[in-house]
Subunit: 149 residues, 2 copies
Amino acid sequence: MIVVSEKDILLLENQLCFSLYAVSKEVIRLYKPILDPHGLTYTQYITLLAIWGNDTVSVKELGKQLHLDSGTLTPVLKKLELQGYVNRQRDYKDERILLVTTTEKGRELKEKLAAGTTHLACLLQVNSIDLQQLKKDIDGLLRIIIDNR
Amino acid sequence: MIVVSEKDILLLENQLCFSLYAVSKEVIRLYKPILDPHGLTYTQYITLLAIWGNDTVSVKELGKQLHLDSGTLTPVLKKLELQGYVNRQRDYKDERILLVTTTEKGRELKEKLAAGTTHLACLLQVNSIDLQQLKKDIDGLLRIIIDNR
DNA sequence: CCCAAAAAGATTGTGTACAATTTAATTGTG
DNA sequence: CACAATTAAATTGTACACAATCTTTTTGGG
């Protein structure tokens, strides 16, 4: 086992946090050419992913799944509505709750995006890293952090 | 080997990109209580890490190490200078280049932060994940992405 | 039933990120 | 040497991300 000495802890290249930060941004960058033609940002994209994974979903539940709050989601959802990809309407049983659903145009977009993202997955998969295992490890770390807070 | 079917690719929970995005934000959140008392943001923190790792460094080289451009770095560096943690001055041999160095106050801050971040590392290390290996895998992925662009 | 507390979004303000453009300095080529 | 091309930062504009606050609606205890 390699131990990082006290002295070296504060080196950028020894920081797991920075590796995560950097790779996250680079992966988001990979999505840009796929999303741009549809006028989508990455945040809009993952928001749509979450919406597609739920028949009907509240902003609060979306925020929980996406690790985002209403301050971020409200403008994103308004934009997606403006683009015609989602519907926003209050729950008639509880007017505090805003329910979000996908539209027909949103469903069509989902079909179109499947091809591009499959291509992206292949681009990475040709290489030697086990992405499935990597994702499991990252999700494990995520769980530990969330359970400890 | 588990294969994700075409149909399930566009599920949020199957997206490696989202796991990276989420865990990166959560790890940054962990740093907040450590950085806040010093009036530092996470971006300022990693920028300082990079500066501490170099005697003298240009904005361009900082950007390369941090995966950030001058649009992000210029205001961050100005703030760090205002707080007294770094010096900014043009290279007398080439006035286009801005050279950044740490100050005595910056070096003192480094000492103070070492304790907090060691604590943070321990908080995660008690658990079952091999963070060293995880970092290696993430850095491997980062390398592949960068080499392919 | 009434009203304080809680809950869900929306809003506001600050600080990134990053693309695109601008400015100033330097380099390379005729 | 002159000047176009290149380079390094800074600036501008847009879109998050998140803390803090505000508004509206609902809930729960007396």
